[in-house]
């Protein structure tokens, strides 16, 4: 249990306890790629207590031996106003409402530079919480290809936090981030002006101020976090009773009263905050991003026109799948024959060693033949994984999902499930391992 704190915690060096870095961002922004690059593949996977939400953490590689840094990969989320349990956990972790997650020593927000405004919407929400924050500006290469030049220094000044450009999938920019994280807590301070990022109307600021004081009195958070929490409670209609901080029961009444006052003044508290945030984000975008090639069609755009075409798109999909499955059957034949031979040979050799009877039958016809029958499919399955990985990496999987989504959604699945579903014609157990978790 953390001790109760009324003031923003000064960075007292915790030589025994590891430092905690929370990794957050929109779904599909490259967060997992960055997490793998920072921690190697030795992540510890478990659950948050009492819920079926995956908790993934790992130790930062390349750090000093006396000071461990733990990176916690929070579920991808579009907003601190949660629409799902995953997003709720991400939000609760950042608001220090989960008993097993202490106040983070740093928060890394992964921002997809090619979807900048949408990602900045979330990033500004996180910065407002007041934790020491870094923006990892990922997919800088895609943004450049699309004709967008981001002025990183200007963006950093506008947001009040360091911004590190990177291409996580190519390993660019990761070293700089690792250095920053390994020299915590001295390398990072709290954001320059979290409360000034988004200008809200004075009426809303007034209501937020009184709520903020009551939340701050509950302790265990920065003053900036209290203000951000106040704004979240004010605008968050869904599930308000369950979203109150612990021991914040009487806040419910105060939030309702605050909203009633705002409604009486003709203010739609539900949308006012979202609009204010996008106004701020738009302004930052205008200041910091330059369009070098406005509306120029990239190679990717030209390909998309064909790949998602009503007729040609489907023809190409059929061709790709035919090629894929035919290749799998053809290339797998030789290894499969070899494996069958090996399994058969092992069975015969073991058979000659054992006396005839039930034991020999159990081992040769049961264990060896049984395991062998499964092993024989290994070449096919490996090839299938290889092809699906290839489709995913080239980006074609997303186009296939786009084409097939309507059919798949009729049976409650996502377009991405199309190819694994087809593979069930080859092997049913393979089909029930989706190659990538479904994301909103």
């Amino acid at each position: 249990m953390t001790a109760s704190r009324q003031e923003p915690p000064t960075p007292a060096p915790r030589r025994d306890a590891p430092l905690l870095v929370a990794l957050t961002g929109n779904p599909n922004c490259g967060k997992t790629t960055l997490f793998n690059a920072l921690t190697g593949l030795r992540a510890k996977v478990g659950n948050y207590s009492g819920v079926t939400v995956e908790r993934k953490e790992g130790r930062l590689r390349g750090g000093p031996p006396h000071q461990h840094v733990v990176v916690l990969d929070l579920p991808g989320t579009y907003s601190l106003s949660p629409q799902s349990l995953d997003e709720q956990i991400a939000r609760d972790a950042l608001l220090t409402r989960l008993p097993e997650v202490p106040v983070p020593d740093a928060v890394v927000v992964v921002v997809d530079a090619s979807n900048l405004q949408r990602n900045l919407f979330y990033a500004t929400q996180v910065i407002e919480l007041g934790h020491p924050t870094i923006i990892a500006l990922n997919m800088a290469d895609v943004a450049r290809e699309n004709g967008l030049e981001v002025n990183v220094e200007q963006l950093s000044r506008a947001l009040g936090v360091p911004v590190l450009p990177m291409v996580a999938s190519k390993g660019e920019g990761i070293a700089e981030l690792r250095v920053l994280l390994n020299t915590l807590p001295h390398s990072l301070t709290q954001p320059a002006n979290p409360a000034g990022l988004v200008r809200v109307r004075p009426e809303i600021e007034r209501e937020a101020a009184s709520l903020r004081d009551r939340i701050a009195a509950l302790g265990q958070r920065h003053a900036a976090t209290a203000r951000a929490e106040a704004l979240l409670l004010l605008g968050d209609d869904k599930n308000l009773e369950n979203n109150l901080p612990r021991a914040g029961g009487e806040l419910l009444q105060q939030v309702h009263e605050a909203r009633a006052r705002l409604e009486a003044e003709g203010i739609d508290w539900r949308t006012a905050l979202i609009e204010a945030r996008y106004t701020a984000v738009s302004a930052i975008f205008e200041d910091c991003v330059r369009e070098t090639a406005p509306d120029q069609e990239t190679l990717s755009d030209r390909l998309d026109r064909v790949l998602t075409h009503r007729v040609w798109g489907l023809v190409i999909l059929a061709a790709v799948l035919t090629l894929m499955f035919q290749s799998i059957f053809t290339f797998a034949e030789l290894p499969m024959t070899l494996l069958e031979g090996v399994v058969g040979w092992v069975g015969r050799e073991v058979g000659t060693l054992l006396p005839p009877g039930d034991l020999r039958s159990l081992i040769v016809d049961g264990a060896i033949a049984g395991v062998g029958a499964v092993l024989v499919f290994l070449p096919q399955i490996c090839l299938l994984f290889l092809f699906i990985g290839f489709l995913e990496d080239t980006g074609y999987m997303a186009r296939a999902a786009f084409l097939m989504d309507r059919l798949m959604s009729k049976v409650g699945l996502h377009g991405k499930s199309f190819i694994p579903m087809l593979s069930s014609f080859a092997c049913a157990c393979r089909a029930s391992w989706p190659p990538a978790p479904s994301k909103a």
Binding site: Q83, E275, F402, S409
Partner: protein
Amino acid sequence: MAAAAQSITCLAPGQAAVVSEVEAPEDVRVRLLELGFVTGTPVELVRFAPLGDPVEIRLRGSNLTLRRHEAEFVHVRPQA
């Protein structure tokens, strides 16, 4: 002269418009607003998938793909 508001799915591929409002059940409305469909945002309908669903929309410098029944909640005024 401002055209009448209609659902974004009534636009033709390549057509530009401006968001007038989002009419949807509360959760969906909030999420669509958080994705950028705030009143006054310029949008462009890029394409429909071959089966009419999903639909790709361009707004705020990037592309977004929505299921048709969700996109239908976004009301826009087409630009000339």
